[in-house]
């Protein structure tokens, strides 16, 4: 029930069935007005919802970022335009730059670590005994399924200064310096624990996806490589890597998109502390906007976030749209 079986795991990307079905379209009888109207009726609810709850907020975000909108203006309903002042304010603030750099570095490290570990585990899964594989898959499923806030709470308990099992274990292993060690006393080590938590929860999905991709690679390619006397590394480079590259690329982009926006875990650990040492852009946006009611400034922060994300994922989105355009 829980195992990823070899047969059905192929990622649908590689199947041509959806493409054919989409191209086939519906039987095109030149029907009644109702028939011609039907697709629009079916789409209308989704379209309205997206325009109202995604399109409008995006516009409103841009507009708000050019306004001075604090609690005073909000309650009085005043509209004060300040042009680019909000942007000038945050871009001229060294704290903001420190936070932006921290966010980008954090995202890069977390994405790199989780994709690499996911790939290694996916390749490992092909080598191990089926029983061990199922055990590993169930274990990863447990990590994957745990709700973010439950996982955060458990990590806080594991890393607890006084009674946490980690410090107890380290002391038992002879590292006496860890007796009562405070893992959340500096920003860097707080970020490290948060990063570990995120990587731990991200690996299962990545490993399952890559494993599904890896077992889709035809056996005879490996046999041919073996006959040619290729080493393990050569086989990986010339057979596995080219086949997995598109999937790896997609997973990397998706991970960037997900890990850049992380808020819940950071907030639940230390609310961006100690001393702002674990504050990232999403946390900063929350602090400025919701805690301090500086909505204009926070909107400018959000716009910068969006721009950064767009920059990071632009290439991927372009390829996706190109591919969809072919449908």
């Amino acid at each position: 029930m829980t195992a990823v079986h070899t047969t059905d795991a192929a990622v649908p990307t590689n199947s041509s069935a959806p493409r054919r079905a989409a191209k086939g379209g519906a039987p095109r009888r030149r029907g009644s007005a109702f028939d011609r109207l039907l697709p629009y009726l079916l789409l209308a609810p989704a379209l309205i919802a997206i325009l109202w709850l995604v399109g409008w907020p995006v516009l409103s975000l841009l507009v708000t970022s050019f306004r001075k909108l604090n609690l005073k203006e909000l309650t009085r309903g005043e509209v004060v335009w300040v042009g680019l002042d909000n942007y000038a304010g945050i871009l001229g603030d060294p704290t903001f730059w420190a936070i932006a750099v921290r966010t980008v570095v954090f995202t890069a490290v977390v994405v790199g670590a989780s994709v690499l570990a996911g790939l290694l585990i996916a390749l490992l899964m092909r080598q191990i005994n089926p029983v061990v594989r199922v055990v590993l898959q169930v274990a990863m499923l447990l990590a994957w399924a745990m709700p973010l806030l439950a996982a955060t709470t458990v990590y806080q308990w594991i890393f607890d200064q006084q009674y946490g099992i980690l410090n107890k274990t380290l002391v038992k292993l002879g590292f006496d310096g860890f007796a009562g060690y405070g893992w959340f006393s500096t920003g860097t080590s707080t970020m490290a624990v948060i990063g570990l938590l995120i990587v731990w929860q991200a690996i299962p999905f990545l490993a399952f996806s890559l494993y599904a991709g890896a077992i889709g690679i035809p056996r005879d390619q490996y046999e041919a490589a073996a006959i040619d006397g290729a080493t393990a590394w050569q086989t990986f480079r010339s057979v596995t890597w080219p086949e997995l590259r598109p999937l790896l690329l997609m997973l990397t982009f998706l991970s960037m998109l997900w890990d850049f926006k992380v808020f819940a875990q950071i907030w639940a650990f230390k609310k961006g502390g100690p001393d702002g040492g674990s504050t990232t852009l999403p946390v900063y946006q929350y602090l400025e906007g919701i805690s301090k009611s500086h909505f204009g400034v926070a909107a400018a922060v959000s716009v910068v976030m969006m721009a950064l994300l767009a920059l990071l994922t632009f290439q991927y989105l372009r390829r996706l749209i190109k591919q969809e355009g072919a449908l």
Partner: protein, 273 residues
Amino acid sequence: MIAKKVSVNVVGVLLALLFAFPTYWMVSSALKPTKDMLSTGYDLVPFSVTTTNFANAWAKPGFLSSLGNSLFVSLTAVLAAIVVGLLAAVAMSRMRFRGRKSFVMLMLVAQMAPFEALLIPMFLMMRDLDLLDRLPSLALIYFAVTLPFCAWTLRGFVNGIPLELEEAAMVDGCGRWGAFRRVTLPLLGPGLVATSVFAFVTAWNEFLYALSLMKDQTKETLPVWLSGFQTNFGTDWGGAMAASALFTLPVLVFFLIVQRKMVSGVTAGAVKG
């Protein structure tokens, strides 16, 4: 060769332990009496077992109400997103019409939209609608967050059902609606379940909006309530672990049921080449 085989398997087992440990630790801590939790003794396996932590967590002020709030917003949002998403998916996958391509692209882009960055305008909008501190605002936002994903994923599942089946049903005298209801919908069952579980987990986990829009404590959702466990529980780690376990249980059950479908669901739409 044998040495290599053994060592790979040993690594596999060690990794499994690493991934399973936090879950094990959550459950075993939840079962420990408080005096064993706050002791300096070393106990990877509980010395004695009790269920008082679960009773405590269950009875904590706010637990049941936040559980109810979480269930309400998540289920409402997912139900709406699945229905609206399925309508759109059928249109995108089965019908030809002007503007189809732009709509597919809109869904794709909406699916990638970073909702976290829309916090400020959403907050202002919900304030204007007088929905702050009211659960429907969260249900509405979770609906919007999960809708593009549902529509996009369901489109993939509908694409996977051969059109010929529907056509055969129509030849046999079914109307268009009859063919859809008797042929496509049953075949779509597993896809619908997998998609709704994934959407449900997204809503179940959501934190930023729940924290920002619900300042009234009686309107808190479970993640926000749990994040305040230090005020709720103090140093009662056993209670916190029990609450976490109760929070995890429904998700875990769902995951075990549909896990296989989910990998393919999320990666549908991958770029080839």
